[in-house]
């Protein structure tokens, strides 16, 4: 055995052990379930034995009372066996649903712990598929697969024992086709799965072509691409048919050959068994019972192959789920929190100290040092890709900066509990995300339901100048956002996000180009109102709020206490509007360009 396979093996063992550990809490259900399996299987296997007596007695001549007894006995066995079968399914499959429920919750919790970067490395579709397809495969392994394995395994053992007791030689002969059935199920199962995957891949292709073609319907019409698109669609579909035919060729043979093999078993029993009867070594009742047992074996054989596939797929899926469950979060609470332990402890001074940050081998921020005194406004300007957003993201630790580089009130942000840190910051990203719920709930996203009075929500919306827009919506603040409700424009989304950030009453307000989709007139109104909010001391203990604003527009940033110009990850210029104009660098250039445009237009 090579090193790598040994490693793989031990990986397999540990994931199996993890699964068993996980299953411990359902131990009682499984024990009870297995007891039902044993009862149900044993009882249903007694049926053919009664049949054997009935037929032999009939052959010899018997009282009708005895015949009635046999009939009643058959019915009784079915009733009691059925009862246990009912319990077996409820208990085992029910436990698998409990398991699914717990695992899905754990999976969700695991995702919640991950830093934002994790979701940039893992596509949403992939994570979704683990939460749905893989979770389902694992559940199938725990529920139905376990149930069928135990019940068919037991059927298999007992039925063969009973058959051996009737006629051992005939048993051996009758069992000849059975291994073939199992091998076939496995072989066909794997091959069918593979061809099915190929079909699914092509199906995704068809979906992609359709999506692309329909989403671009205007371009298609304007450039008269209808025929070309239909041809493209036809090609994708024809390939789909070809791949389907490959599957049909296989699947078409699958069930018939199973029937054939099982039929050969039955044929051998009838043929050779009758010879035994003629030779007097067997009764007709035994022959019938024997045949019935053989039929009962057919299902375990089929199930065996099917269950192996389920187990294989289930284990692979379980490993994929473990990848997520075990992923170590990149950003976590400090083991020992520093002096800031409550949101109320935050004053709002922010400091970057020699901050250098690289990801993917690319330096994004280089030696950034700046102090933003509590209660002041700092603006950041700079070309696209200069690192402005990254710099802002290090404050609430959406992106982690190296230790000793980002401080709030002199405390490393890494030493502040995440809840406290983020609770003190009202962050408005460039592309805000709204959830598909009401506008009110979106604005009150960051506060407890108790703190979200309609007045407070309306007040926040008013500052963000969203109030007029909302008054035009059919249900006001109760209007649903997203697919089932109205679609908000980019500017409306940004303003909703500003209201959301204001409602948490933050010590520090961060606007990451958060007004880019708002027209200049409204922007000015919002900034004016914000200035008011920033100044208003909400809590006697602290004065004005600190704010950090990224923008492309000079009009937005000119009144800031301090302006930082970030170019290629470095602070190239810093100062007030007037100071920077005197410096005659990037900022002055930007200002002149925007002025020039105005003049040029006005001429």
């Amino acid at each position: 055995m090579t090193r790598s396979t040994r490693f793989a093996r031990s990986g397999q063992d540990s994931s199996t052990r993890r699964l068993l550990d996980y299953l411990k809490r359902y131990r009682r259900s499984f024990v009870a379930g297995f007891a039902c399996v044993i009862a149900a299987t044993t009882i249903s296997l007694a049926g053919p034995w009664v049949l054997k007596y009935a037929i032999d007695d009939l052959n010899r001549g018997v009282t009708s009372a005895k015949i009635q007894l046999y009939g009643g006995l058959l019915l009784l066995l079915a009733a009691v066996g059925g009862f246990f079968r009912f319990l077996m399914r409820r208990i085992i499959v029910g436990a698998s649903r409990d398991f699914e429920y717990d695992l899905r919750n754990d999976f969700f919790a695991a995702l919640q712990r991950q830093a934002v970067a994790y979701f940039q490395q893992h596509r949403t579709g992939d994570l979704m598929s683990r939460a749905t397809n893989d979770l389902n495969a694992v559940r199938m392994m725990i529920g139905p697969a376990v149930m069928y394995t135990s019940s068919t395994g037991l059927t298999f053992v007992i039925a063969i024992a009973l058959m051996l007791s009737i006629d051992s030689k005939l048993t051996l002969i009758a069992l000849v086709p059975l291994p073939f059935v199992s091998v076939m199920v496995r072989y066909f199962g794997a091959a069918i799965h593979e061809r099915f995957e190929r079909i699914q891949a092509q199906f995704s292709d068809i979906s992609a072509v359709t999506q692309e073609s329909l989403a671009g319907v205007r371009v298609v019409r304007a450039y008269r691409q209808e025929t070309a698109e239909i041809d493209r669609f036809r090609r994708a579909n024809e390939e789909y048919v070809v791949r389907n035919k490959a599957l049909i060729r296989l699947q078409g043979a699958y069930y018939p050959s199973m029937g054939l093999l099982m039929g050969v078993g039955a044929l051998l029993v009838l043929w050779l068994g009758s010879r035994e009867v003629i030779a007097g070594r067997m009764t007709i009742g035994e022959l019938v019972a024997f045949n019935t047992y053989l039929m009962m074996l057919a299902w375990p054989m089929i199930a065996f192959g099917w269950v192996t596939n389920l187990l294989q797929r289930g284990m692979a899926s379980w490993k994929r789920m473990l990848d997520v469950l075990d992923a170590v979060p990149a950003i976590t609470d400090p083991p020992v929190p520093g002096p800031i332990r409550r949101v109320e402890d935050v004053r709002g001074e922010i400091e970057f100290r020699n901050l250098t940050l690289a990801y993917g081998g690319q330096v994004v921020l280089q030696n950034v040092s700046a102090v933003i005194p509590a209660g002041t406004t700092t603006a950041i300007v700079g070309p696209t890709g200069s690192g402005k957003s990254t710099l802002l993201a290090t404050i609430p630790r959406l992106t982690d900066a190296p230790p000793g580089t980002v401080f709030i009130d002199g405390v490393d942000v890494r030493d502040i509990p995440l809840r406290v840190l983020r609770g003190a910051i009202g962050f408005v990203p460039q592309e805000p995300f709204l959830f598909s719920t009401t506008i009110a709930e979106n604005i009150a996203f960051g506060v407890d339901a108790a703190d979200a009075s309609p007045d407070a929500i309306a007040a926040a919306a008013a500052v963000a100048r969203l109030d007029h827009d909302v008054s035009r919506f059919p249900k006001g603040y109760d209007t649903l956002v997203g697919e089932r409700g109205i679609t908000l424009s980019g500017g409306q989304k940004q303003r909703a996000a500003i209201a959301r950030a204001l409602l948490i009453d933050p010590r520090v307000l961060v606007l990451d180009d958060a007004l880019s989709a708002v027209d200049t007139y409204t922007e000015e109104e919002i900034l004016h109102r914000l200035r008011d909010v920033m100044r208003r001391p909400l809590d006697q203990a602290w004065g004005r709020r600190t704010s950090l604003i990224v923008s492309h527009r000079v009009s937005t940033v000119r009144d800031a206490d301090q302006i930082l110009v970030l170019i290629e990850g470095r602070i190239a210029e810093r100062g007030t509007h007037d100071e920077l104009l005197r410096l005659d660098g990037f900022y002055a250039d930007l200002y002149r360009k925007q002025l020039l445009e105005e003049e040029l237009a006005a001429s």
Partner: protein, 604 residues
Amino acid sequence: MHDEEVLGKAYDGRLMRRLLGYLRPYRAHVVFAVATIVANSALQLAPPYLTKIVIDEYIPARDLSGLTAIAALYLGTLFAAFAFEYAQTWTMQTTGQKVMLDLRMQIFSHLHRLDVRFYDRNPVGRLMTRVTGDVDVLNELFTSGVVSIFGDAFTLVGIMAVLVWMDWRLALVAFAVLPFIALITQWFRANVRDSYRTVRTWIARINAYLQERITGTSTVQLFRREARDYAAFDDIDRAHRDANVQSIFYYAVFYPAVELVSALAASLIIWYGGGRVMENALTLGSLVAFLQYSQRFFRPISDMSEKFNVLQGAMASSERIFALLDTPVEVKSPEIRLKADTTGGVIAFEDVTFSYVPGEPVLKNVSFRVEPGQRVALVGATGSGKTTIVNLLLRFYDVEAGRITIDGVDIRQMDLAALRAMFGLVLQDVHLFSGTIADNVRLGHAEIDEAQVRRALEAVHAWAFVSRMPGGLSTPVAERGSTLSVGQKQLLSFARALAFDPRVLVLDEATSSVDTETELLIRDALRVVMRGRTTIAIAHRLSTIQDMDRILVLHKGELRESGTHQELLAARGLYHRLYQLQFKDSPSTALRASPAQPDLVGRS
């Protein structure tokens, strides 16, 4: 619950006839498949009867050679059954595939004829479901449903006939269990269908919630929603589990109940049949055959109940598909097509009125003329009707009143393709197709060769970045062009317009801001594309507006002012105010659209 989820009745004759119409081209295949399935069902009747013969005749007579003959016959039926079943599966399923191909092509082609207005009402996601999901549901009907119902029914009738023929009294006793099986199946089907729907609803909720929380992770974390979100997720997850546990109950009852009825049949046969054996009215072999037939009796019944679900789903899907196929096309080429004079190209709007929603006109009596070679900018606040003008010109929609003419010919009297061939459309959101860079420039027009594609790219300054790509022109474009910057995508769309060399350029300028260098490239590329062409542009960039011969100012669906930039500024009217409001302080990039409403490109 979504309308997709609603399941209607299981059988609708009108829908069924229409569906069967799709089988007509493959009639011979279908007949063959039905024949094989009937033959196969007949063969399934053989084994119990052969058993009866063995027990009643050959065993008492100790006839070993007869026994061997029966065994050989048995083997023969097994192989024949194999052959018939294989032939049936292959024929029916491949036919199903062909029918699905036909149906998909029909839906897709129809979608590409349907009015743009139709797309306003139907999100792409829903249309996708018609083309893919719904057709797939129908596929099940064709491959596993309809035909095997024949087989099941035939098997059932066959067994009943044999039983009656062997001993009609005993047969009637055995049939006594049938009402029970019908009741159980009915109960099961109704309940499972309901609980299946509930489970589906919850799973959809789970997925939607999960998807949204993954996408909005940073918001969730910034606003410390983790604990509350977990509680909300737990609620949905729990409801899903409970719905499933409910459905387990139905399955847990159903299977044992069917077995119980089957045991009831067996005990009735033993009890009554046994009595008749004792009276010598029935042979022992017949009794055994009866027992075996009665076991085979239940399989087709439970199979049929499964197929009922397939049938029901198929009816719902086909109803939706046919509704789509029956949606009439309003904007289409006329029977008699007039040709516009190819040398001229005067575009005129004459008293055009139009509304997306009846009673809410977006354009009111708009009239203007665009001379060949003239460059016209459409300016106005969001919702003023700029995009609508473009939409009407390309006949994405038809005017409500008034008319649009080209060289005096109403565009509704022109061939649709010929009309659209006159225009090169460049939209705000550049739509890229999967394929190479070159494919995206020439689209489906193979006659635009590589050299032309390259010249177009060079002219709009796109060649610089294309040539730097690993595969140059043949570099594949990633999903929705995600590897390209906004500016690069815009340059590509200019190249596309240029390669088609249209008489009229129709431009809906992008508002998104790009860096200054790209901005300059775009500005220059635009000049190249406009050169020598009539241009109608929804302009957002000051530089573009200033390059125009004439500016049309739209306000609330009316044409309010017209003139050059300087003239309109001097007039100090609406344009001046718009300018004050929107250009003031705008960085070197774009005149921003008012955010009060989503820009009309969404509707467009």
